[in-house]
Amino acid sequence: MPVIRFDNVTKVYPLPAGDVVALAGIDLDIEEGEFILVMGPSGSGKSTLLNIMGSLDVPTSGEVTIAGKQISRMTDDELTLMRRDHIGFVFQQFNLIPLLSVVENVEYPLILRGRKSGSRERAEEVLRSVGITETHFTHKPGELSGGQQQRAAIARALVNSPDFLLCDEPTGNLDTKTGTAIMDLIAQMNREEGKTVVTVTHDPRMTAYADRTIQLVDGRVV
């Protein structure tokens, strides 16, 4: 049983100038523990694909099954809980909450789940495992370097022990050296913790990390 299954999935954005077909009939199975790379030119539908995998968006037609559940029948709250409990997101722009300190950012998903005691310890443990030093825990995200922010974002994505990690160009805003370190970290999570990982990237060197690479062109797998 694959963790994520796409069955003839299309996504159409109706615009006044005409419909934009972002995904045109995608069939896809992702097995547990796989490291998948999604590549393709700009506008080919990579982010759209990832958003639907992450139950942030719903397909126009076709069926998506995530962790055994069909998302087309889900309410907004059910989709949100799916994201909270089963999915970890990592974005190109890090997207940490500026109001919260680094450790609070990582703690937040735990609190959303209603976990009270031990949440701070758990957040600190995950932060340490992604390589953030203790002295940075109480800093605000803006006071950290890009690489450190992305590490904290990965810690936030992992803290609820999700079924899989979705990364949309996680190294896009980082220099080559830092980007490589982040990819090493993601690969390590895949190898050592057995996390399923789907990563969108433009960098062809990243294929070395992946079990499989999906090429998208104009909303189709090629």
């Binding site: 992450g54 907004d76 949100t80 909270r84 974005f91 998903p109």
Partner: protein, 381 residues
């Protein structure tokens, strides 16, 4: 760290903006509460000034009717029309009164001795008798005359006659019939002998059952004004009612002004909250994407509005109390009115209105935040 915490942090992150919004609420609460207190105090002041409980009918000669005063006959006609209710005729005059060496002018009310206890309460001494040369003095007059020796047991001279003060009246406040606080009350018979008069200026009817008031009033009018208008009848209930109505509408009007200022404050909160939502669209997208539900986002923003509202209401409540104190002390002359339960309630009401306005103003922005599309919010720059 909770949603409340996040809301609190956002409020303090933009402290200048938040302070301005809070000031708006503070002004609104003060306006409502102090206007309410002012109106209430005016009402209380009226109530205190007017001691009659509204059971009194005053009959006086109709102007332009040729009748200047009532004869014994007319008084007994009125008595008959009034049925079993007590009818108290009286006359009044102004005269020079000598106490020891001091001469001064005073209001003099002449009332049949037997009726005085039914109209006026005494503080000390006894009521005068019809046959003796006794009189009573008003409480304020007694208070103000300590140096001249006008007190219980003193002798006063009016013209060539001497009267002994047999009693002091209880303070009565302003009335529609007579105002004896600064006056001397003498038995009618003494007045009649001394001034050689046998007419009465006005007649007071004390109606025992307040429900009979209109009937008694009509009976008197019918009896006396048969051919032409001889008497005018005034009943204090109607006057009191119209005064209290006026006081109430003053309160409502004043509070309306307060409410408008609170609504303005509400708009400023709405504005602050809309700014807060707009500049955090991306953040809301992030919160939603990592699993924050709509109602949780909504709660976060409503908390934010509530924090502004509650802080504003608390500061406003305290300042209202101070403003209320100043206003009642300066405008109405007695801060005691502030400690009235109704005045305090106006402060509570003002605070509640402030909080409700803030929460209501936060509702739409919060709803808007909660219903943003997470993907579009994430793409927002």
């Amino acid at each position: 760290m909770t949603f409340f915490d996040l809301a609190r942090r956002n409020v303090s992150r933009h402290w200048l903006r938040s302070t301005l919004a809070v000031i708006g609420i503070v002004i609104g609460v003060i306006a409502i509460a102090s206007m309410g207190i002012l109106g209430n105090s005016i009402g209380l002041m009226f109530e205190e000034m007017v001691t009659d409980v509204g059971d009194t009918i005053v009959v006086y000669p109709a102007s332009g009717s040729g009748t200047m005063a009532f004869t014994e006959r007319q008084v007994s006609d009125i008595t008959r029309a009034a049925g079993s209710n007590r009818v108290i005729p009286f006359a009044s005059t102004f005269d020079t009164v000598t106490v020891g060496e001091t001469k001064s002018g005073a209001m003099i009310y002449a009332i049949p001795a037997g009726d005085i206890p039914f109209l006026l309460d005494k503080e000390a001494g006894t009521y005068p008798r019809d046959t003796g040369a006794g009189c009573m003095i008003g409480s304020k007059l007694a208070e103000n005359s300590k140096t001249t020796g006008l007190k219980l047991g003193a002798r006063i001279k009016i013209g060539s006659d001497t009267l002994r003060v047999t009693g002091v009246l209880t303070e009565r406040g302003m009335g529609f019939d007579i105002n004896p606080d600064y006056a001397i009350v003498v038995p009618y018979r003494w007045y009649s002998n001394h001034y050689d008069k046998d007419e009465y200026d006005q007649v007071i009817v004390k109606v025992r059952n307040i429900n009979d008031l209109d009937a008694v009033r009509e009976a008197i009018e019918e009896k006396m004004n048969r051919r032409e208008d001889v008497v005018n009848v005034m009943d204090t209930k109607a006057i009191l009612e119209s005064i209290f109505e006026a006081a109430d509408s003053i309160t409502v009007f004043l509070m309306g002004i307060g409410a408008i200022s609170l609504i303005v404050a509400g708009v400023s909160i709405l504005n602050v909250m809309m700014m807060s939502v707009t500049e955090r669209i991306r953040e809301i997208g992030v919160l939603r994407s990592i699993g924050t539900r709509r109602n949780e986002v909504m709660r976060m923003f409503i908390y934010e509005a509530l924090i502004l509202g509650i802080v504003g209401a608390l500061i406003g409540g305290v300042l209202s109390f101070c403003t209320g104190y100043l206003m009642t002390a300066v405008l109405v002359g007695s801060p005691d009115y502030l400690y009235n339960i109704k005045s305090i309630l106006y402060i509570v009401f003002g605070m509640a209105f402030g909080i409700v306005t803030s929460a209501a103003s936060g509702l739409y922005p919060a709803w808007k935040a909660a219903h943003l599309n997470p993907i579009q919010a994430l793409r927002h720059e």
